[in-house]
């Protein structure tokens, strides 16, 4: 992004629950004005714990946070009128109607948009007189979003803004976020949807077990991932019978049964070398799969580092 201001600055941030569990273990990043920054990670990676510190809901156990130059915890009053927050889970009185809820928020939000405009913005105009308890999960998310946008904030924190939305609702939210960025709003969002981070974020960080495992633009993070070539070893061949791998630009390999997986940062050179060798040797590489590194690959590889049970959950979420 073409910015020279850091609207959010996070340095070596730590958060500890109950004096024991360290949910955030030294996170550092910065977000420029007008940027959309995504914190990507599986459940339990520390996304919400991090965002809550940026929102000033709790003091950090260590490290430093600055939002628009303020400490969000000790200088809450100065910061609040300039930021918008959407928590992971609503926080509405189920017996109030949609309009009553927005009206209440407008009553304590500086420079609040008119209630009708706020509801129309997220397509809830027709639901104004419905009690919160009768809203669908997606409608609650949209109500939450409009409250975050009510005061035309400079910085917007969105914790899993599209979880529970259907495909159409998700797209509408993305359009809304893009529109906000175009008007100069800085957005920090968390998500466990790869597609969302890839399509929406100018830059992203993949969180894992309270640390940043990878960060940069989606293209940079993808480029840092090795490409992969896998195939079945031909009958009678051992890995040692292949041509020397290092000169082909192959940086590593592992064997699982008869399947051989190679990693490389120079996909074309490695694949060409391998295929030329196969052609000359007259062998067929069954199950050949050549794959460019991707964000999904990066995410899965990082998630796989979790203990077995956690990893299974992570896979499911990526699939979802």
């Amino acid at each position: 992004m073409n910015t020279n201001e850091h609207v959010i600055e996070v340095t070596d941030l730590r958060r500890v629950y109950g004096g024991e569990f360290e949910a955030v273990r030294g996170v550092t990043f910065a977000v420029g004005r007008g940027e959309v920054f995504a914190l990507l990670g599986t459940n339990g990676a520390g996304k919400t714990s991090t965002v809550e510190l940026l929102e000033g809901l709790a003091p950090p156990a260590g490290g430093r946070v600055r939002v628009l130059g303020h400490d969000p915890y000790t200088e809450r009053a100065a910061l609040r009128p300039r930021i918008g927050v959407m928590l992971q889970e609503g926080g509405f009185s189920s017996e109030l109607t949609v309009a009553e809820t927005v009206r209440m928020w407008a009553g304590f939000t500086s420079g609040a948009r008119p209630v009708d405009e706020a509801l129309a913005m997220v397509g809830l105009a027709g639901r104004a007189d419905v009690r919160i308890k009768q809203l669908s999960g997606g409608e609650k998310r949209r109500l939450d979003l409009t409250l975050a946008l009510l005061g035309r904030p400079e910085v917007l924190f969105l914790d899993e803004p599209t979880t529970g939305l259907d495909a159409e609702g998700r797209k509408e939210t993305w359009e809304l976020v893009r529109g906000l960025r175009d008007t100069g709003t800085t957005v920090l969002l968390t998500t466990h949807y790869l597609e969302e981070a890839e399509g929406l974020a100018d830059r992203l960080a993949i969180l894992h077990a309270g640390r940043i495992a990878a960060s940069g633009t989606p293209a940079e993070v993808t480029a840092s991932q090795p490409s992969r070539i896998s195939f079945e070893l031909p009958d009678g061949y051992l890995p040692g019978d292949l041509p020397p791998l290092a000169p082909l630009g192959i940086t590593g390999h592992d064997v699982e049964g008869r399947m051989l997986r190679l990693r490389t940062n120079e996909l074309q050179r490695a694949a060409t070398g391998l295929l030329v060798w196969a052609e000359r040797s007259g062998v067929e590489l069954r199950g050949l799969d050549v794959r460019q590194g991707s964000l999904e690959e990066a995410f899965l590889r990082i998630a796989r580092d979790v203990a077995v049970s956690g990893a299974a959950e992570a896979e499911k979420e990526v699939a979802a």
Binding site: H6, G69, R80, G91, F92, A106, G107, F108, S110, E154
Partner: protein
């Protein structure tokens, strides 16, 4: 991207909302919610107006005369006490727990309301309801029991003020130790029982053994009730009044400290 940090970039010009307006917006929504919560409304509005009558019938005129009390002496503190305990304390305990468990308090803290404004704004409807009942009772007693206007209004006002503040703060503290709206009905019992029995609400302190009575004078709501009663009868000496004010102040300080120390804004994980 260079790393220039925004120092104190000025906020864009916009109308800033005052604390009073912020609390009014929250209180307005709470009034709506109170109207829709039949259980809370019944506890807060009906119980305190009915119970004092049972106290009245529980005491024999002869017993009261023997203790040097009139029925007004008994009815007014009982009425005010029940209003404070049910309309303010019990209702607020439930309201704070419900708002916390629905994550409303956490969500509100992401907005411009200060912590104190959230607590006060959410309490306002219940407090106003409690005060309205007290007024109704005072008028009712004046007309029906020939009690008359308060002889020392400043003491009555002070007592009412302390009573409201202590009951609201006690409600917030009790809410912090209650996991759900249901369990709040149990966690609230000790304070309710102690106050009704020991603070001169259901039983005038004169009817208790001396030793017990002097201990009961130190309970949280006792000074408020003493001041209220003294405000009407006018027979509270300056020395006793000062003592009651000092006790009430001490409890107010403890209550504010307890809320700051223990109030929970989010459900337990």
């Amino acid at each position: 991207m260079s790393t220039r940090t925004i120092a104190e970039s000025p906020a864009p010009e916009r109308t800033t909302v005052t604390g009073a307006r912020r609390m009014a917006a929250l209180a307005r929504a709470e009034v709506t919610l109170l109207g829709r919560s039949k259980g809370t409304l019944f506890t807060a509005a009906c119980v305190p107006l009915v119970l004092p009558l049972s106290v009245r019938s529980a005491f024999d005129e002869a017993d009261l005369k023997a203790a040097g009390l009139t029925s007004g002496d008994v009815m007014l503190p009982a009425g005010f006490g029940f209003s404070l305990v049910f309309a303010v304390y019990a209702a607020l305990t439930g309201i704070y727990v419900a708002r916390r468990e629905e994550l409303v308090l956490k969500r509100l803290r992401t907005g411009e309301l200060r912590d104190t404004e959230i607590l006060v704004g959410a309490a306002l409807p219940a407090v106003v309801l409690g005060l309205a009942q007290c007024l109704l009772l005072a008028v009712g007693c004046a007309l029906l029991l020939d009690v008359g206007a308060p002889a020392a209004p400043h003491l009555a006002v002070a007592g009412l003020l302390f009573g409201v503040v202590l009951c609201a703060a006690a409600g917030a503290v009790t809410a912090s130790f209650s996991r759900s709206a249901e369990s709040a009905q149990v966690t609230g019992l000790p304070f309710m029982f102690l106050s009704l029995m020991g603070s001169g609400i259901a039983v005038p302190l004169e009817m208790l053994p001396d030793r017990l009575a002097s201990f009961c004078e130190l309970l949280p709501l006792s000074p408020a009730i003493t001041l209220l009663r003294g405000g009407w009868t006018g027979d509270l000496g300056a020395y006793e009044a000062l003592g009651a004010v000092a006790t009430a102040l001490a409890w107010a300080v403890i209550a504010v400290f307890a809320v700051r120390r223990w109030f929970r804004w989010e459900p337990r994980h």
